[in-house]
Symmetry: C3
Subunit: 438 residues, 3 copies
């Protein structure tokens, strides 16, 4: 029988005995896992494809193109070895654009504590650290996309015990985008600039942590950040975002490059609750950009945003919350054919710091979602969203935001004479996602 274990002791060409541990191959909740009997060694693979399409509606000042996109195309290898060590390698090639995602080494002296080094997500924002595999809506809220730092090279620590979760780290540059990496390299080569550093941390209380059917998540997070070399110009920061869809490429809300940045302070509040098939989640995020011109203090630019959403599984499914990582994970489906989820979200982002300061625009979004959770591997998502931007959401004065007093379209917010609700581009869209994870 070929499959039986070959228990022969083997020696390599250097006379040393080869460590050999038989592994069992399993499909585990839809994923291939190879594991040793003592569960000390484990390796698994993760492929993910998300294909999106969107159609836009509304009588907009600026035309919007319908389109499609391979939003994510991911492949990852993850391995646990010798009980206490773990490694991960993760790439994205969506739309033929390469991004290195998670790439790190982790050491866990015990099951509550982990130390990590490499490229991974900073512990800031509940929705940002939730894997794209398990998002409730097709895109994260604008405030999260704008302020949450996501992946940066760094080292950090994670701890969880009973109702408490904490993580903190020292982070450096981002390498996710080849252009940002190029800026970093050039700033290093041409000016010898240090990369900049961020100190980021998060604390979460998780009442009802040992109840499978309900839970609360109450979190607070902060980050102190010096300017990074991955900015287009040293000492600058720029906040901008697409509006709840990757298909419409316009960035209505955009601060443009903010000069003379001394440091940035981020703050975040997180709240979530679930009970069986009901879930609620909300966050408030803010960024204070402290500026300095030589020895002269400049006014601090203050931006913020928030979102809240509720969702329900209709056919007997339930939500699952992972207390090790303080994150929601894949819900359990109620039927053999899957389950359907309804969700509604309101989100708001303001990049308007003050009338004499930076006015990058503000916008709110109303998003309604239906998700069909087919099985462990397949999810089909449908979103309808309405976006309402203010007159300052002019994409660095490149987009029309209303009519001036002569009745002509203008890109200058200060010349717009429309009433408050009317100025700024507003539109709605229907978007769809086909997702497969395997």
């Amino acid at each position: 029988l070929g499959q039986e274990t070959d228990t022969t002791v083997r020696y390599n060409q250097y006379g040393a005995r080869v460590n050999r541990t038989p592994l069992k191959a399993e499909e585990r909740n839809g994923i291939l896992v190879l594991e040793s009997k003592d569960q000390k060694y484990k390796i698994w693979y993760d492929a993910r494809v998300q294909v999106d399409g969107a159609m836009f509606f509304g009588d907009t000042y600026n035309p919007i193109g319908n389109g499609t996109s391979v939003r994510r195309a991911r492949f990852a290898v993850k391995s646990q070895f010798t009980e206490k060590w773990y490694g991960e390698f993760d790439l994205d090639i969506s739309n033929s654009e390469l991004e290195l995602k998670d790439a790190y080494l982790e050491f866990s002296p015990n099951e509550r504590l982990s130390l990590r080094a490499g490229n991974y997500k900073e512990g800031f924002s509940f929705e940002s650290t939730t894997t794209s595999r398990y998002l409730t809506f097709i895109e994260r809220p604008n405030a999260v996309n704008t302020f949450a730092p996501s992946r940066h090279i760094g080292v950090g620590v994670m701890y969880h015990k009973d109702w408490l979760f904490g993580m903190g780290g020292i982070h450096f540059q981002t390498v996710g985008d080849p252009e940002e990496r190029l800026f970093s390299e050039d700033n290093n080569k041409d000016y010898g600039t240090d990369e900049g550093v961020s100190f980021t941390g998060k604390l979460v209380a998780m009442p009802f942590h040992n109840d499978f059917n309900k839970g609360l998540h109450i979190g607070i997070a902060g980050s102190y950040r010096t300017p990074k070399t991955d900015a287009e110009i040293r000492g600058h920061e720029r906040y901008s975002t697409r509006s709840l869809t990757s298909i419409n490429r316009k960035k209505y809300m955009d601060t443009d490059l903010i000069s003379n940045v001394d440091h940035i302070v981020l703050g975040g509040l997180e709240f979530a609750a679930y009970h069986k098939n009901f879930r609620f989640q909300g966050e408030y995020l803010m960024s204070n950009v402290h500026r300095k011109k030589w020895d002269e203090e400049m006014p601090t630019e203050k931006f913020d945003g928030w979102y809240a959403f509720g969702s329900v599984l209709l056919f007997g499914g339930k939500y699952n919350y992972n207390t090790n990582d303080a994150e929601f994970t894949q819900p359990t489906r109620g039927k053999s054919w899957g389950d359907v989820e309804l969700a509604f979200r309101y989100d708001y982002l303001s990049l308007n710091s003050g009338m004499d300061q930076i006015m990058g625009g503000a916008g709110e979004g109303y998003t309604f979602g239906i998700n069909y959770h087919v099985n462990n591997n397949v999810k089909i998502m449908l979103n309808y969203a309405y976006l309402n931007h203010d007159r300052y959401a002019s994409g660095k004065n490149k987009l029309f935001v209303g009519y001036d007093e002569n009745g002509a379209l203008t890109k200058d917010p200060r010349k717009v004479v429309d009433a408050n609700g009317k100025a700024g581009d507003d539109f709605s869209f229907v978007s769809v996602r086909f997702e497969v994870d395997f």
Copy 2:
């Protein structure tokens, strides 16, 4: 015994029973496959490397460089789960240039019908949808490279029953090439242009479908295509191709950008036949580019091409045709050391639409091939080809195509005084490919 099945029931941290299905690992015809006993879950990997080299001969008007190339370096993950669902992820990094290839989700309610969403090959051209793994010649014919749309994001349906195969789909932009994707994104951002849409379909009759030793393939295909945003300039289309080799980078036949494109109609006829170790295959492809300037109709540009080839396995092998996909697949080898295949192909492409219209050049190729099918994983290919271009194959007037009346080399086809067979650059080459699939 480590390898024996661990039949313990496991519960995850959310109290839910973990679905665990043991998998068997197998080498199956040279490929690693992991499969559950009931064959409902299956995952496999596909790596492919093709290394090419070519030397050129002939007294050409324009010098040609000999060279080498990693023509393809592919890695794919493919998984079938819960009987009716299938996912695929496929990348190419040949010559360090990234391309997302197949990335899609497929649902098959029964074994005859499949629905697909994602990035995959449109159902047009027999030779285009044949995997590069099993090509008979090192490069596809020029007409196929020029007109067949290959992969685009879209949704579609496939059906096969007995002697009938059909597929149809709605397709959008291409994401294979980072530059094309950038054009799409910029066109969306700057002009709000819709991506454009294509309706593509194919019908194939397969007489002798249940005979392993012989078969016919008679197909007809069509596509209606509006201009895509992945073009360099919106509303433009460009047909161009390298001439039967990826090593010589010159594109002799090139229409340059065709402006004011309203829509394009593609048509294709496919014929193939095989009997044991003999195979014949041919296609005719045409493209009508319908143009419009404001309200004024412009003349339609008509391009076409065809090819035919025959091949034979010399040492007892036989050809195999997959009636599920209406495609040839890997042939069976006759000897334990493999098999040798001889093949000859004639192909023709005309991008000349008419003397007062677009004259992008025409060319014919004679290709002789010897393939050594070593085993399931290795194939070594040797091609000799002779290329005969006409005087209009001037690479957008960047290449010499003959002598003018003063005896000087000219890039202007209309000034060439050479006789018909002589004008235009002609050359021959020997190319070799080492291919490994595993």
Copy 3:
């Protein structure tokens, strides 16, 4: 029992029997291996992440930026099939920059001889062909980085028997860097230039080859190289290197483009010795760039460099040398918690060819390293290095190299009035690497 072998004979849809060989999955020295019982079929995967950081010290003429980097993020698939054939596919996506690494096919008619075709490392320089997985210091010596050709497309042969190892090959362009590949393609398209060719070979004597505890490595290597099309300008060659770290992006030593290159001759001498936990290794490398202007000979530019290092494993570990490949491989650790290695290296590089010729700068480095070999998968490295550049190491006259007679900083080496040891930028740094291989 699901895991038991399904011995059913299966026939595919073409009526042919499917070759099916059961595979055993094993963790072998930390790596997943799937292998058939007769060991004729084997497939394994190789993921590698190296995360680096560095801080710089010293009162330098040019500021240096501290920073971090994902130095390598690799994924490879390797498979042996039918005993005599082997294939490999290897990619790197460190810092989101794609590079195709090994991609080749290998045929071994017997266990001593191998023939190879594809993209792989030329047989030149001991340290260059040593995998980055097992390097003793964080970066290879400057002379190796500068002169060793590393990977190029080509075909070659390898032979080993008892105390003898030899390899030789014909190589063409490099495809590791997308920019170099673009140069090659453009040179082909625009000028029809042949790619250029290299003949590279190496011979190694390995006394004590069948002793596990000690060994010698005495090697000689050479390469004859015509200019490649992957240069920025045809017929040019450029030698340049970063100085023992990838974080400081400045290239102090840089010849700039050397024009009118006829051919280059590389030479190398290799020596290594080990005894249990002691290891010594050194190399001398030189490059003669032969130049020609039309029919007129120009003076040959001569560059060279060398390094030597010693290392010791402190807690009972021992070094291992692979006589099949004439390379050191992973050392055996002495303790269950791993082992610690101390190492010291001196290296020197001179790109100064002569006062009336090319003066690209010279530099020496003193590197002290501590490596913690945790287990088969994890290595943590700490390096301290001191770099001493001469006044010609001015990065193509873009870096300050000393003070002129007016006491002002100058980038022109010929105007520097500082004493010999003082001119040129000198600095020290501490760098750290977290490495995980799985």
